[in-house]
Symmetry: C2
Subunit: 301 residues, 2 copies
């Protein structure tokens, strides 16, 4: 298959996943049109997100021939955590962004208090969804607890929150490559990697060796994603990405400001290759995941 | 026993619980003196909190003769959630408080970004602690999931976050008694009530009828606590409580501004009586809990 065909196949999967997630999220969110808090939650979750993490969850399920509906609560919980993190990252005290996906950020639309609270609510709701035994088709309770534990670690003070605090502290300072990688492994990589791990666990069919290789895959994919983000940002794709202004313009250290465009692209390719290699044990079954990994560094949005 | 003796017995229990929680929280928090984020988490958790919710957890355990150490992760998780909520409530976009327990609020000491992130981190850590099978002595995984689910509901968009959003939206507006009760049932009452429910569940020894009466107890105790808070606030105890200025001065609707001091006290007594009545089935074993309920409306801090 050519690159274009691969990309268009993934694009179709993404579109399908976006529609599915919009439907699912509406089912799990509190009803809208009741309070500004609930409206802010809907606004932040149903604003045209790419749904890359849920697609990853469903593709990992396919790898182990698990029924996709079994993974719905996990996909919803991970997307709720992702959406909460975007609301809080955009706040005036953080990145102070006015636009997200081409629309006013949550605090611009609903005020700062509602935005902070909507983020808090989405994060908490993620754990409510995961722990709800009645809605959860995974019968193994020990597995559900492991998933909650892994996701909390990925999202918490050693994971995503650590990365965001690192990012805030680093603004205006130069980082070395080691520090920049550490920041992105936690800020973006931890949740992407946890999506892979948790989905594999949820299927109940992944061996210890499968999990080890999928951990490598998730980590490589996370770096790949972030470096491509920096490249798009440097190339002025902010408008296409619905953001303004670019990270580089905010004096943030990025892979491009640190290494230059050419070296940044080489790094993205390196981690893309690592991601591909980590899928070897899954043979032909990994083809959709291979396409997704390629899409991660070919995307222009 | 006289009122004074009761209060001093509870005061001793509280002091002991405070020391125990300080030790436990240090074990569960990430190491301090490493990053501003971790320092902010320590600062917000180890700032002289009353630890009323953990004491409630341990007293419910005693009611069912459960070993107190079995309840440590639950007590820690609930206190982490409580501390996160205080950080976010104090933020400039929310109550804009400069002082908490007589010291600069977390955002005053560490900046807004670190305060928002420390709150996010504490909330997430609470679920990490609860889901950590290795540290959790409750062997029944179905019970742990129920506890996570109950706590997430109590803390989330239908519970504590709902109450805080209600509180923010209500500022400068008058509420009726029904609305004020609804606000406090969610903002303060939900977590107090969940502390009681989750502890009873965690012992594995509470019957359905026990749980029903303890739910009534938790809800009554929550209202009792909040009305007394409003009374202390109106009586100018802000200094003693380490806060400034009083809610009434911020044009918040309180039980005192709505009903007057005398009627507010009558309401507090009513809910105190409800709390006492709901303990009847536990006979003499409930004496410590009865003292705690009395302390809730006799406290001056």
């Amino acid at each position: 298959m050519t690159t274009t065909l691969l990309s268009s196949a993934i694009q179709m999967r993404l579109t399908h996943c976006q529609e599915k997630m919009n439907t699912l999220l509406k089912q799990y969110l509190p009803p809208d049109n009741q309070t500004p808090l609930f409206n802010a939650m809907h606004y932040a979750c149903l604003n045209g997100g790419k749904r890359l993490r849920p697609l990853l969850v469903y593709m990992i399920a396919e790898l182990f021939d698990a029924a996709p509906e079994q993974l719905n609560p996990l996909a919803v919980a991970i997307e709720l955590i992702h959406c909460y993190s975007l609301i809080h990252d955009d706040l005036p005290a953080m990145d102070n962004d006015d636009l997200r996906r081409g629309k006013p950020t949550c605090h611009k639309a609903f005020g700062e208090a509602n935005a902070i609270l909507a983020g808090d609510a989405l994060l908490t709701l993620a754990f409510e969804v995961l722990a709800n035994e009645r809605s959860y088709p995974i019968k193994n309770q020990s597995t559900i607890l492991k998933i909650i534990h892994l996701l909390a670690i990925a999202a918490g003070p050693q994971g995503m929150v650590y990365g965001q605090a690192f990012d805030m502290a680093a603004q205006g300072n130069s980082l070395n490559l080691e520090e920049l990688m550490q920041m992105h492994r936690t800020k973006t990589g931890a949740l992407i990697s946890a999506s892979v791990q948790c989905s594999a666990l949820a299927t109940g069919k992944a061996s210890e060796n499968d999990l080890v290789d999928l951990q490598k895959f998730g980590q490589a994919l996370g770096l790949c994603f972030q470096i491509q983000d920096d490249i798009l940002d440097a190339q002025g794709n902010s408008e296409k990405m619905g953001k303004n202004p670019g990270d580089a313009k905010k004096h943030k250290c990025t892979f491009v400001t640190l290494l230059g465009l050419k070296q940044a692209k080489a790094h993205a390719l390196h981690w893309h290759q690592e991601a591909q290699t980590s899928l070897d044990r899954f043979k032909n079954k990994a083809l959709p995941l291979r396409s997704l990994a390629s899409f991660f560094i070919e995307r222009s949005m």
